[in-house]
């Protein structure tokens, strides 16, 4: 029998070494999840500062310079620090358990890909305390605002992005290698749980586009420090080139965020419908189709940049096409529920909210794809509302659902159902109060990234801020629920945990032992 992990009883030294040197997929998954939660709270705090300043017209609390740093850091920390690592954490915990593997294929690289992340974010956030302040050019860091006109600390930002990219690429290679090589006998590709499928596709996206991001920031580095003119019009460069390069990374990136969320929801909805997922194979094909389309639609973020009309038309048509596979997914989820035997535990509530709100974000996405209308929507709060409906209600809601769903399996304790539901309703209502009015603000003409605004936007901004504080409060409750469950939750040893749960991870004992599937299971 393999020896177990060091616990606090073995002394602090051993306990800390365990986490620092661990190659165990469950430990690394846990590290990823806690790290992403910490980043989520930090990025959330930035959002609270933004919403507090926007509570009323005028500059009350902070100056525009710091406001721009907050919007930038909020975006960067949430995308690269909170959401992406959260799903990598879930992948680490779940993929080996779902495909009947003893661990990830490349455990040492797994350790490295996690442990460079805290350094990346330490470097990034430290800029807030430096002379010149943190990055202040938006999470999309358009040149030349992020090159010629940026504070010197931009070099730290570039270094941080490089490290995050390396981490993501290593994590993705690991996932691809694991799924290709370590499936249990009989676990054919078309038998893999959908979460595994969506992650494999995501991993391929990451491997393809992270180097593009690295290229973009490297060109910035050259422009800033070595006298090149990639993005400097005065030297013969082109600022628009930056946007093409960035969005060639950036659009797949948003699907990198959302595809694993699709996977999570595709696990949870069948469980609480007590019915198999409807249209499994079409789900797989739809995911692949979305991933493919993500590479060919990037310039729909640039409809106002002055592209030739042929380009605009192409990117408009291509973008509209995304609605087809995405629609298939939504229909499949709903049909899975149809004639099921539904119960509404917390993970299911978050998943249903995901389907509704994500679809709503999809509708506004379809509106945004229409180039002529986008001339009015572009860079307004309508866009902010749209991507928070797909990112927050998409990734964060599904991440929360995942934690409630698998937490009993991970730690052998049950969360408090009432507390979970209380959190859900505060989050759901708070979310909608925050972001629904932002549609109105955008349509009425309020641009995004505005530190201050005219009096005509005052009412909805105040409503939005109140909702934001409410939604922020729900996350504190989430943290409390998780800690309470791990520490004082009701113990359970039911391997299935949920009546309708299907899949290899639910055949393991609860809580999942440190080493699982040392001998591969047989899949029929």
């Amino acid at each position: 029998m393999a020896h177990g992990p060091a616990t606090l009883a073995d002394g602090w030294g051993k306990y800390i070494s365990r986490w620092v040197f661990t190659t165990n997929h469950k430990d690394i998954g846990t590290l990823y999840l806690w790290f992403s939660f910490a980043m989520f709270i930090m990025g959330g705090a930035f959002a609270m500062i933004i919403r507090a300043e926007l509570f009323q017209p005028g500059m009350q609390l902070i100056k525009p310079e710091f406001f721009n740093q907050m919007t930038t850091m909020h975006g960067l920390v949430m995308v690269f620090g909170a959401i992406m690592p959260a799903f990598v954490g879930l992948a680490n915990w779940l993929i080996p358990m779902m495909i009947g593997a003893p661990d990830m294929a490349l455990p040492r690289m797994n350790n490295l890909s996690f442990w460079i992340l805290p350094f990346a974010f330490a470097i990034l956030t430290s800029t807030l305390f430096m002379e010149g302040g943190g990055p202040n050019f938006g999470w999309t860091f358009y040149a030349p605002l992020s090159t010629t006109y940026a504070p010197d600390t931009v070099n730290y930002f570039i270094f941080g992005v490089h490290i995050m990219g390396a981490s993501s690429i290593m994590g993705s290679i690991n996932i691809i290698a694991t799924v290709m090589n370590m499936r249990a006998p009989g676990m054919t590709y078309m038998k893999m749980p959908l979460f595994v499928w969506t992650w494999v596709i995501t991993a391929f996206l990451l491997v393809a586009v992270m180097p593009v991001l690295a290229g973009a920031v490297t060109m910035m580095l050259m422009d800033i420090n070595f006298g090149t003119s990639f993005f400097d019009a005065a030297g013969g460069g082109d600022p628009v080139l930056f946007q093409h390069v960035f969005w060639f990374f950036g659009h797949p990136e948003v699907y990198i965020i959302i595809l694993p969320a699709f996977g999570v929801v595709s696990q949870i909805i069948p469980t609480f419908s007590r019915k198999p997922l409807f249209g499994y194979s079409s789900m797989v094909y739809a995911t692949a189709a979305i991933a493919f389309l993500s590479f060919v639609v990037w310039a729909h973020h640039m409809f106002t940049v002055g592209m030739p009309i042929a380009g605009e038309l192409y990117f408009m048509y291509a973008t509209m096409l995304i609605a087809v596979p995405t629609g298939v997914k939504v229909f499949n989820w709903i049909t899975t529920m149809y004639r099921g035997s539904l119960t509404f535990e917390t993970p299911m509530l978050f998943s249903i909210a995901f389907v509704i709100l994500f679809t709503f974000g999809g509708f506004t996405g379809m509106m945004l794809s229409i180039a002529a209308a986008d001339m009015q929507y572009h860079d307004t709060y309508f866009v902010v509302a749209h991507f928070h409906y797909v990112m927050v209600a998409g990734a964060v809601f599904s991440g929360t659902a995942a934690v409630y769903y698998w937490l009993p399996k991970w730690c052998g304790k049950m969360y408090d159902e009432t507390m979970g539901k209380v959190q859900f309703w505060i989050a759901f209502i708070g979310f909608n109060i925050t972001f629904m009015p932002q549609h109105f603000l955008g349509l009425a003409g309020m641009p995004r990234r505005y530190a201050d605004y005219g009096l005509q936007f005052a009412d909805w901004n105040m409503v939005s801020s109140i909702g934001a504080f409410m939604y922020g409060g729900a996350q504190i409750l989430f943290l409390f629920n998780v800690i309470r469950t791990i520490g004082w939750g009701k113990p359970t040893d039911d391997p299935k945990v949920w009546e309708g749960a299907e899949g290899l991870e639910w055949t393991l004992p609860t809580p999942a032992p440190y080493h699982t599937f040392s001998t591969p299971p047989k899949v029929k």
């Binding site: 082109d238 002055g306 379809m366």
Partner: protein, 381 residues
Amino acid sequence: MLKRAQALFLGLLSPAVALAMAGSVSAESTTRQLNMPQGVTEVSQAAYDIHMIMMWICTVIGIAVFGFMFYVMYAHRKSRGAVAANFHEHHVVELIWTIVPALILIVMAIPATSALLKVYDTENADIDIKVTGYQWKWQYEYIGEGVKFMSELRTSQDEIYGRTPKGEHYLREVTQPLVIPTGKKVRFLITGNDVIHSWWVPDFGVKRDAVPGLFTAAWAKTDVPGTYVGECTELCGIGHAFMPVVVEVKEEAEYNEWLAGKKEEAAIYASTIGKEWTFDELMVRGEEVYERSCAGCHQSDGNGIPGVFPALKDSPIALGAKEGHIAVLIDGVAGTSMQSFADQLSEVDIAAVVHYERNAWGNDVGDLTQPIDVLNYKQGQ
């Protein structure tokens, strides 16, 4: 009453409906506007129309999909004794819900394409105006007319920082609005001077990025005189929220009168450039210019923002030779965000602000900087 109740009911069913319903009452209140403005040009009308078409299509789909979902959630719950079926695929249904949305998209693409063609129809303009984005103001140049001016925010820092009450036009007022005539096709040629800005007038349906080194074109033609307010919509630094666009549409005769006045102004200005200014005159004008054009970065107290924007108080440039100081304003400083102000400020304004910077906040050089010094520097280049 019944209609309202129905609206409320539908609104509860689907947030999309709430948005659509809310849109129909938008005209009643400017402070609680909920929907896109219809605007006053063909382009803005086209954008509005396609926006409404899309919204209604989404609303109908939303009602159907969410309605079915809520029915399922109600009818097939375990607590009502529902027993799970075991089906998990149905090829015909799956084909239908792949093909039908694709057909809907093809139908949508037709009006979307014609609306876009309208946006791009910039040929045969009557008037060409060059719009240049600066950090953080707009410059308008009437091509072929010799009229060119800057348009900057008029709202004071005191209003922004809450030291005085905010006016009715808070952040919606500029020193000199762009003026265009009714009934003429005006083409805007938009570019940027430093970073990327974006010039947006919602009521014209015109939004174009102002990219350094690139010209993009947009157009407007309207018969409705009035004042139309827009914004900068591309993050461009700390003054991003403080560079509104204000356009006045005047009847043609009025416009011609205005244009003639502008030309005359330019002529008068050119003849008075040789005037000698006194120390105090320069200080007063200089402070005005400084607050408008310099304080955003270098701050009202001249201390700058450490690490980003250098202090002018006790700065070697402000305390050094006058020519060197003027040179910084005229040429800018390469590789930094200090741009050239040669095209943005008049000779008088540059002289005044240089004078002010050399004699404010305890800087006490004591010399005078006259417009002619600036002109000499420019011509000596």
